[in-house]
């Protein structure tokens, strides 16, 4: 993991940024506490230590009461893109990603979680204020992130391209990444100035925020400020009701990376955290 020092930055994008959506406004100054962040998207090699751990029970439902593993996939949800240890793990729900965190916590005693939107954007920007940390020119993107223009329609092994200024690979592109935040179009309008570690608390199942854009997206989606809202359509081809709590049949472009807060929360805070997401 890479240490990300505490600091402040301007969240959101200016009106003249190409591809900018209204939900990226108004720009606000935000303070972020220090944390460590996974330099890569979580890979199948890592995920499988959890997913294929026979000692952990497999359950259909997700409950905070017990660590459990995802059910089997009826079909291959990499859709043939590859399942090497270094490929980024994909197609999981936000809750599945958080159960991976809970499993890690139970195993190691260290609390890892998904980043907040603010943490994610702060780390992605790596001190820049341009559309991407590599400037405003979409052509520079090719060396740093997989998008529609250079992905050949599939995700690639993590860290195959160059990292951003803070040493983080594939923040933009390859897979879009889960954050903790519930999606609200007007999230920034509601932010007080100089908000510290803002987070929109979990509410309904949809929509939640993913960030970074993916191998399927056009270059303009791969911007530090771009906010993508999850939806029920990401599971539209799941023929069963209730639909899988673990998998997204149509979310092959979604993955995640971990953060570890600089100041470890107390046991009670950690329990409260998992209770609020895995209910």
């Amino acid at each position: 993991m890479v240490p990300i020092r505490s600091g402040s930055f301007t969240i959101g994008s200016p009106a003249n940024e190409d591809g900018r959506d209204e939900d990226e406004a108004p720009q606000k100054k935000v303070q972020v506490s220090g944390f460590w962040m996974g330099e890569k998207e979580v890979s199948f090699g890592e995920w499988d230590t959890f997913f294929k751990n026979m000692e952990v029970p497999q359950t259909k439902d997700i409950s905070v009461d017990a660590v459990s593993r995802p059910t089997a996939q009826y079909i291959d949800l990499t859709w043939g893109m590859g399942r090497d240890d270094r490929h980024p793990t994909n197609s999981m729900s936000q809750q599945a990603a958080l159960m991976y965190c809970k499993w890690l916590y139970d195993k190691t005693g260290v609390f890892y979680r998904l980043p907040t939107e603010a943490e994610w954007e702060y780390a992605c920007r790596a001190g820049t204020q341009t559309a991407t940390p590599f400037g405003n020119d979409a052509r520079s993107l090719e060396a740093y992130g997989y998008f529609k223009g250079n992905s050949e329609g599939k995700f690639h092994k993590t860290a195959s391209l160059k990292p951003n200024g803070w040493g983080l690979y594939d923040m933009l592109g390859n897979l879009s990444e889960w954050t903790l935040d519930q999606y609200q179009t007007d999230a920034y309008a509601k932010l007080p100035s100089d908000a510290k570690d803002p987070l929109v608390a979990p509410g309904s199942k949809y929509p939640k925020v993913v960030r970074g854009g993916s191998y399927l997206d056009n270059a303009e989606e791969l911007r530090c400020a771009n906010r993508i809202a999850s939806s029920a359509s990401w599971n539209k081809r799941d023929p069963q009701i209730p639909k899988s709590k673990w998998w997204l049949t149509d979310g092959m472009f979604v993955g995640f990376r971990l953060v570890r807060p600089g100041k470890a929360p107390t046991k009670a805070e950690i329990e409260k955290f998992f209770e609020s997401y895995l209910k």
Binding site: K60, K236, Q240, P242
Partner: protein, 441 residues
């Protein structure tokens, strides 16, 4: 149902009276039964089999544009029915609860529950384990109902024969029948099919089809269950209910080649077994099959299906023709490395929903458009001759099998009746053995 009609008519009445701006329009209309019938466009649906798929299908039926109401539910088990009802009413996956008009009096459980819900509906969704499909389909058609039924449509040759007979009756009665081989209702497949029909790859000479995955759920035996109840709960692993995964799942891929080829195989031979998934909780089915199907013109379909955790996973179909190749998963047609057509996946539809959108649109307009049962039965038979080939290690012929009368169904459907396969003293079931298992002398 009477109440529901009244409710709807009141709504229409309110709408009319506001349009007439004064509301003088007359209460007497309320007692005019003829009037109510003429405005009532409700399509009543019953679901038989309230598992995940039955509930999903009901949800999709209720998500169509037509005025569809779910009026009755049937399942072998009360808890399965209750979970399904709850999922529909919760609205977690979409808001359809206003269209659920099921009451305590229209919920039925047990082996004969299907007989009680069919009379209450215009359209019947049949989504029980496939072993029951022939008898449920027969009853629905004999009562003049339109049908949406899941694949496969039988688990044995006698069941296939029955479905083919009933399919003929459905045609004569002009009853719409859709079978849940949803690739027929998926835009990418339709676009590929159209081009293959137009000759883009020439004549199909061979194909490879796959359903290799980790497998599905297991439901452990509970204390106090009769053998029949246990098998009904853990149905995936018993052939009279499921037909083995070559039939229950892999039928999708076998069906695609049949569809694109415009033909059905004349024979099959292959190999299979249960090397990894061989515990007693896995009943009697194999964990892998590899079958070579031969069509009348000599073309071959190679079929792989596997349920083994941690192995290479692929669900796909590809076919080679005299002029090119079609890859269904990639939705691409190519020739000598050159792409001739590539479907834009951004234009993909939701095939499970589309099955219902098209069915209910046709029914609402009084159209007769869908007769899927015959193809459903023949693609089911394709999978069954594949299973019989791997189980026996012999060549299994289509015609001979279809007319064999082979049935693997129980003599009697009752909780205390013996299912057709029984465990030994250690709880293990007899397993088909190539070279020993025989279907024809």
């Amino acid at each position: 149902m009477e109440n529901e009609k009244l409710h709807r008519s009141r709504r229409d009445f309110v709408k009319q009276s506001t349009m007439l701006a004064g509301g003088i329009v007359a209460m007497p209309l309320m007692s005019n039964a003829g009037y109510f019938q003429s405005v009532d466009d409700t399509i009543k649906v019953a679901v038989i089999g309230c598992g995940g798929r039955g509930t999903g299908a009901a949800m999709q039926a209720l998500s169509t544009k037509q005025n569809v109401k779910l009026v009755a539910m049937a399942d072998a088990f009360r808890d399965r029915l209750d979970n399904s009802y709850k999922a529909l009413m919760d609205g977690d996956e979409g808001d359809v609860k206003e269209r659920v008009a099921v009451t305590e009096e229209t919920k039925f459980v047990g082996f004969d529950a299907y007989k009680k819900v069919i009379p209450l509906a215009d359209v019947v969704i049949i989504a029980t384990p496939p072993g029951f499909r022939p008898i449920h389909f027969e009853e629905a058609i004999s009562q003049g109902k339109h049908v949406f039924m899941e694949k496969p449509v039988a688990t044995d040759p006698a069941g296939v024969k029955k479905v083919l007979e009933v399919a003929e009756i459905a045609k004569k009665k002009k009853l719409n029948v859709i079978v849940g081989l949803q690739r027929h209702y998926q835009t990418s497949y339709r676009e590929l099919y159209k081009r293959v029909q137009d000759g883009m790859i020439g004549d199909i000479t061979s194909g490879q089809v796959y359903w290799n995955s980790d497998g599905v759920w297991v439901r452990p035996r509970q204390a106090g269950q009769t053998e029949m109840e246990y098998q009904m709960r853990n149905w995936y692993y018993f052939n009279w209910l499921c037909g083995d995964h070559i039939t229950e799942q892999h039928i999708h891929n076998l069906d695609v080649m049949n569809w694109f080829k415009g033909a059905y195989p004349v024979k099959a031979q292959g190999l299979g077994g249960r090397q990894v998934r061989n515990g007693k909780e896995y009943g009697e089915i194999y964990d892998h099959h590899f079958v070579e199907f031969t069509y009348a013109d000599g073309s071959i379909m190679n079929s792989q299906c596997r349920h083994i955790k941690g192995t290479y996973s692929i669900v796909d179909e590809m076919m080679v023709g005299t002029k090119g190749t079609v890859k269904c998963g990639a939705a691409e047609i190519s020739s000598k490395g050159k792409t001739l057509f590539k479907f834009d996946k951004a234009k993909e539809n939701e095939p499970y929903q589309n099955e219902h959108d098209e069915l209910f649109a046709a029914i609402a307009k009084g159209e007769y458009k869908f007769a899927d049962a015959e193809n459903g039965a023949r693609s089911t038979l394709t999978s069954i001759i594949g299973r019989m080939a791997t189980y026996s290690g012999q060549i299994i012929e289509w015609d001979k099998t279809l007319n064999s009368g082979i049935s693997i169904q129980p003599q009697k459907y009752a909780w205390d009746a013996p299912p057709p396969v029984l465990p030994d003293a250690n709880g293990f079931y007899p397993i088909a053995t190539p070279g020993v298992t025989k279907y024809f002398s």
